[in-house]
């Protein structure tokens, strides 16, 4: 069986800056892959390139065997890729229910079908503030809402950009639990992360990116065992 997401030789630029320099990795169905690296290494850009938000200058991105590079973001989302941006990008003037409504897509074969009620079971906090505007929520609540909003599209692959960033430790724990719950549902998740502890708790495998190049791929256990790689690419 082919990989769910297969990236090869991916190039991307911001203006003249060459951000991604031939990034390539595969991930399988039902897998949680942590894309790790320091600030500015190219984690977010990789996600944006997959989503079509940053036009790839070269290379291929295959989703379920189908080439998706160069397509428009909405078309990529409709294929079943859900994107949770780092900055959350909640619609602050819209209520929780309205935010969820924007993300709503028809049910998809081979992916869990999400409804607001199922999501409120996953994120009980959100259920208690259905009519609150997104702008009046705490950072952690907003982070939950972005994930819920993206899940309303019934994705087969979830791109989570730095979900633990800027959150209180308690919330980070809750976030890890949520990711594990989603994984139990069979969701494939590509997660960008700087925090090795967090990634170690939720991910099966890791890919390490530095200056736009993938330096390491392997299981989470292999990464934990490999101190040389950790100090070279991850320690601050």
């Amino acid at each position: 069986m082919s990989a769910l997401l297969a990236i090869a030789g991916l190039d991307a630029y911001y203006g003249r800056a060459h951000i991604l320099q031939g990034v390539g990795f595969d991930m399988g169905r039902g897998e949680v892959l942590a894309l790790m690296g320091r600030n500015g290494a190219g984690k977010s850009t990789t996600m944006k390139a997959v989503m079509g938000l940053v036009p790839p200058a070269g290379g291929t991105i295959r989703f379920d065997g189908q080439r998706i590079e160069g397509r428009e973001p909405f078309a990529i989302a409709r294929l079943g890729i859900g994107y949770v941006p780092e900055e959350r990008r909640i619609f602050s003037e819209l209520t929780v229910m309205e935010n969820l409504a924007v993300g709503r897509r028809p049910p998809r074969e081979g992916a869990p079908h999400w409804t607001p009620d199922r999501l409120f079971a996953l994120f009980p906090n959100l259920g208690r503030m259905r009519d609150r505007p997104g702008g009046a929520m705490s950072g952690g609540e907003q982070q939950m809402l972005t994930i819920a909003r993206t899940l309303m599209g019934n994705p087969r692959l979830l791109l989570l950009d730095e979900p633990s960033e800027g959150l209180a430790p308690v919330i980070v724990e809750a976030m890890a639990a949520t990711i594990l719950r989603l994984k139990e549902e069979g969701m494939s998740i590509l997660l960008s992360e700087q925090n090795l502890h967090f990634a170690g708790n939720v991910a099966d495998r890791a890919a390490i990116i530095e200056k736009g190049v993938i330096r390491f791929t392997g299981t989470m256990d292999a990464l934990k065992a490999n101190e040389a790689v950790r100090t070279q690419y991850l320690s601050v």
């Binding site: 203006g15 909405f74 989302a77 990008r89 619609f91 819209l94 409504a101 924007v102």
Partner: protein, 619 residues
């Protein structure tokens, strides 16, 4: 007295309805597409003309014929809006704001000529609405029942819009896209469809506004620009993007107009201006508006403005020498054209000064050009001044206007600023047009002739060359002075500029005044060049001339306005000679230019050169 107040209030409310329909359409379109649709007044005009034709065709006597015609006209305008979005706007969403505005102005020109070709130059008197032809007696005065209907339509549409935006999926998507359209796309919503539908919807509202206006006033070819200026005022006062704000402001402006005409017919516009000024001082983003959400535009970094290198300096000197030597060989007719071009070059350079380094886009720069011309003419007519002091007085008047208007304008930025400058220019134009005792109104002021020594074409040419070249060079020097640096710092990042001690508003205010002053010099010269002044000197098309010159040359280049002035003046001259429908041709040319050269001619050339070899910058 009481009944008079009541009827005037009702009058104002009735006129507010159409204003609200057009303004809310503009606001909604801006919210999602971030484009201020200059052509919205034109869609309103099309609604009126199409309504006139359709009602006549369907039978104005029957209610079905009239209302069917009105609704059909609105739907047709919605369709036209969709076409405009698909054919033009969709291609220019990534272009800089100004170019988008310019492209929609191209559409204004095209629609003007299309309307002229289809409906002819005569005003079209609209049909009366069946069932609403009588009067209602209110407080002992007769009040047309159609007006009452219009008064009801405003809040009804407001309620409908509220329902649409709060209770339907389409409305939710539109509100979400207003905040973060990219994210809406990433969630699987087809943005293209959304944008087209939003544009069609806003266009339909404008068309409805136009068609509903038919029983009140005739459809004319001028209603587009007069409406867009009023709508800009409404939108600035109400808050861009706020539908409720648009209603509130439309009522406010409508009622103000009604009373203004009653009490001080001459200064109605001044009254509107004062209200707008108060609102903007208290609430810079309008009554119900909010500071534009910090959605950073993904535009390329502006190329650096650099002082001329040796080759450019030499070329400039050569051009100047050539211009100075020309009268020896050139016939008088060519000298006349060149004199006009020189004046326009200064006009364009003055606008460029605030637009390029200042980032302050003025859509009403003709106000200062025209005030300069009027300053000179008034000095001649009322003070009996000869040319020399009159030429000094010209920039003085323009400069005062620049200081006053600029004070308000620099409080805003981007499209808000552009709209406000346009509204100010419209007010200046209306003052020149309406204050017949002082300005002669539409007849203008004649007999503004130069002093004896400058009467010959050659002498006046040298006078224009000397003044224009000196002023353009002075503007250039200022771009590379501390003021110019501060201006560019404020443009690129106002917050950081303030953090290092630059009073950005003051710097921009100074730039505004200087630009107005320089435009006034050009205007004064122009008055003596033509021997007369007319209100058209301050009109919107003249402002757009200047904008086109600057944008054609490229905003972020120093020599751009010079190249642009020559290219544009040549282009429009040729077009006017070639075809009766020169507005259509010019509009089409503008739209195509924006699509093909989003960085202007010089900008495009520099980008092309930059791609060829490193080390080249914008000169």
């Amino acid at each position: 007295m009481l009944d008079l107040i009541l009827t005037q209030t009702l009058n104002g409310l009735a006129s507010a309805s159409s204003l609200f329909l057009v303004a809310s359409g503009l606001s909604i379109i801006f919210g999602v597409t971030r484009i201020v649709n200059f052509a919205h007044g034109s869609l309103y005009m099309l609604g009126a003309y199409l309504g006139w034709t359709l009602v006549a065709w369907l039978g104005p006597a029957s209610p079905l014929g009239f209302w069917g015609g009105v609704v059909l006209a609105a739907l047709l305008v919605a369709g036209i809006g969709a076409l405009i979005e698909i054919a033009i706007l969709r291609r220019i969403y990534p272009a800089p704001e100004l170019f988008q505005l310019l492209a929609t102005f191209g559409v204004v020109l095209m629609i003007q000529d299309i309307a002229l070709a289809v409906w002819g130059p005569e005003d079209k008197l609209g049909p009366r609405a069946p069932g609403f032809r009588s009067f209602v007696i209110l407080f002992d005065s007769r009040f047309p029942s159609y007006e009452l209907l219009l008064i009801a339509i405003g809040p009804a549409v407001l309620a409908l819009l509220w329902f649409l935006f709060r209770k339907t999926r389409w409305g939710t998507l539109v509100r979400a896209a207003t905040q973060d359209r990219e994210m809406v796309g990433a969630l699987g919503v087809n943005q293209r469809l959304l944008f087209t539908s939003v544009f069609a919807f806003g266009a339909g509202l404008a068309g409805l506004g136009g068609a509903l206006q038919l029983p009140r006033e005739a459809a004319t070819l001028h209603m587009d620009l007069s409406m867009i200026a009023e709508v800009f005022v409404v939108v600035v006062v109400g808050g861009l993007g706020s539908v409720a704000g648009a209603y509130l402001a439309a009522v406010l402006i409508g009622v103000l107009h009604a009373f203004g005409i009653l009490i001080f017919p001459k200064i109605t516009l001044v009254l509107v201006f004062l209200v707008m000024a108060v609102v903007l001082v208290v609430k810079p983003y309008g009554l119900l508006g909010r500071r534009p959400a910090g959605q950073p535009r993904a535009t390329a970094v502006e190329p650096l403005l650099r002082p001329a290198d040796r080759a450019t300096k030499r070329a400039g000197l050569l051009a100047l020498l050539l211009l100075a030597a020309l009268p020896l060989a050139a016939p008088d007719s060519l000298l006349l054209i060149l004199t006009e071009l020189l004046i326009f070059t200064l006009f364009a350079a003055s606008l460029h000064f605030m637009m390029g380094p200042g980032g302050l886009a003025s859509f009403g720069h003709a106000a200062y050009f025209g005030l300069g011309a009027y300053g000179a003419a008034l000095a001649v007519k009322w003070l009996g001044a000869p040319m020399e002091p009159a030429l000094l007085f010209a920039p003085f008047l323009a400069g005062i206007a620049g200081v006053v208007f600029g004070w308000f304008c620099v409080r805003l930025s981007g499209v808000y600023l552009a709209m406000l400058t346009l509204a100010f220019a419209q007010i200046a134009w209306a003052t020149a047009f309406q204050w017949v005792e002082l300005t002669g109104g539409d007849n203008g002021i004649l007999g503004v002739w130069p002093s004896a020594w400058a009467v010959s074409k050659t002498a006046f040419y040298y006078l224009a060359l000397a003044i224009c070249a000196a002023c353009v060079l002075l503007l250039r020097v200022m771009i590379f002075s501390p003021l110019g640096y501060g201006l560019r710092a404020a443009r690129d990042n106002a917050l950081r500029a303030e953090a290092i001690g630059i009073d950005t508003m003051r710097v921009q205010w100074a730039a505004f005044a200087i630009a107005a002053l320089a435009a006034g010099v050009a205007g004064g010269l122009f008055a003596f060049f033509k021997g007369s002044v007319f209100p058209t000197y301050l009109a919107i098309p003249r402002s757009v001339d200047a904008l086109l010159m600057v944008l054609l040359g490229g905003v972020q280049t120093v020599s751009g306005p010079i190249v642009g002035a020559f290219a544009y003046a040549g282009l429009s001259e040729q077009l006017a000679k070639l075809t009766l429908y020169w507005r259509f041709a010019l509009g089409l040319a503008i739209v195509l230019l924006v699509m093909l050269f989003p960085r202007g001619l010089v900008g495009g050339f520099l980008a092309w050169r930059e791609r060829l070899g490193p080390g080249a910058g914008a000169r």
